[in-house]
Amino acid sequence: MTRKELSAKEFIARRIALELKDGDVVNLGIGLPTLVANYLPKNVHLILQSENGFLGIGPVPKETPPIGAPRLVNAGGAPCGIIPGGSTFDTSISFALMRGGHLDACVLGGLQVDENADLANWMVPGKNVPGMGGAMDLAVGAKNVIVAMEHTNRGEQKILKKCNLPLTAKGRVSTIVTELALFRFHDGKLVLEEHASGVTVEEIRAGTEAAFIVSDKLKEMEISQVGL
């Protein structure tokens, strides 16, 4: 299975699934990041945090209580499950887990990332102002901030010299995964570490405004093969 036979989103999610280690405590953002859970290798069990107040997000039960009945929901307000060994708590504990550095990783969607590791992902002025919700707390607190996003948005670049959308957090991104490449920040410098199969460094450079260093260990992106 190659990159071309998968959607960009699935390819990105499958790559990130290999970033996470068994036992990691992780918060997956809404949308593309949530897909990552579908592709975890068999021997990798994560403890997933839900920002509305629990650890151990589990499969959605076959039958869930109706709207208005007491029920467990995820951060998007949809019914969900909790695994044996899960725990529930109030919002201050939930966000202490983020800010206090108790999460091994978070996976967030991105509108823009820049070469200073700044992230913009919460609003487009004049278009959509949903509110930052928990995104700012997650981005400042998780040990590893993984941004999952398509490399460009209808031709518009997203990995920039400087974000021009309102920031979510300054200098906090650790890893960027797109359908073309994987970058990591090392000592404040953006480094291209992996390319998708058949994608050249020149092609990546053409779609990336930010300056980056090419790792001397540059390699091809591997993805989770679960279910393929």
């Binding site: 208005g68 467990l72 995820n74 951060a75 109030d90 919002t91 201050s92 509110g131 707390d137």
Partner: protein, 235 residues
């Protein structure tokens, strides 16, 4: 001991125009629908409300929560972290009908906790270098007046000073209450409820079940009863 039982019709006696109300819940999960209805029915208006989010405007997706009061134009100002799933709240923000102060959810929680714990504020790294740092906020530090949030560098790291949030009233939803007001919440319905119980001047909780004193193991109490003023019993 005086009974804490409150009939739903009596909620109105605690309400007045222009007051500030905290509401528990996360996407409407843990927001008392009966108390929201009672507030609406009372006719009270120009409210400042403080809560996690504006819940759902589409009733097929989830509970309306505070959206009931927003849709009926009772809210003058909303302090919250997220309005993305309430189209009417977004509309009122854009037209200026309702003032909205967006605050990161973790900062809302800590501002509630600060008020309820007697702290002068909290220093958080969240929002440093973002538009949150430029929000209007009247604060006096060492006798100097500032009109925006202040960024303070403590031991080499930047933090935003977030001030406590206070309110005249908190309206909460609990799964179980004993007659002293000791509370147990169900799953994700806990969210900001315990923090608001600490922070507001008067606390009214709707409980799904009310049990006798002693029926809740002290180790299982999530909000101590001394923080709860009134209990609305189940139907």
């Amino acid at each position: 001991m005086k009974s804490k039982r409150l009939e739903i019709e009596q909620v109105a006696s605690f309400l007045r125009d222009g007051m500030t109300i905290m509401y528990g819940g996360f996407m409407g999960n843990g927001t008392s629908p009966r108390i929201m209805q009672a507030i609406l029915d009372s006719g009270v208006k120009d409210l400042t409300v403080i809560g996690d989010d504006a819940a759902f405007s589409d009733a097929t997706k989830g509970p309306e929560g505070i959206g009931l009061l927003i849709r009926n134009k009772r809210v003058k100002k909303l302090i919250t972290g997220h309005i993305g799933l309430n189209k009417e709240a977004q509309r009122q923000m854009i037209t200026g009908e309702m003032e909205i102060e967006l605050c990161p959810i973790g900062s809302i929680a800590e501002r509630l906790r600060a008020k309820g714990s007697g702290l002068g504020g909290v220093l958080t790294p969240t929002g440093v270098g973002t538009s949150v740092a430029e929000e209007k906020q009247a604060v006096s530090i060492d006798g100097k007046q500032f009109d925006t949030k202040q960024t303070l560098n403590i031991n080499g790291k930047d933090y935003l000073l977030e001030l406590p949030l206070s309110a005249d009233l908190a309206v909460l939803e609990a799964h179980k209450a004993d007659k002293m007001g000791n509370l147990v919440y169900y799953r994700s319905m806990r969210n900001h409820n315990p923090l608001m119980a600490l922070a507001a001047d008067t606390v009214i909780v709707e409980a799904h079940e009310v049990v006798e004193i002693g029926d809740i193991d002290p180790d299982h109490v999530m909000t101590p009863g001394i923080l709860v003023d009134y209990i609305v019993y189940p139907w």
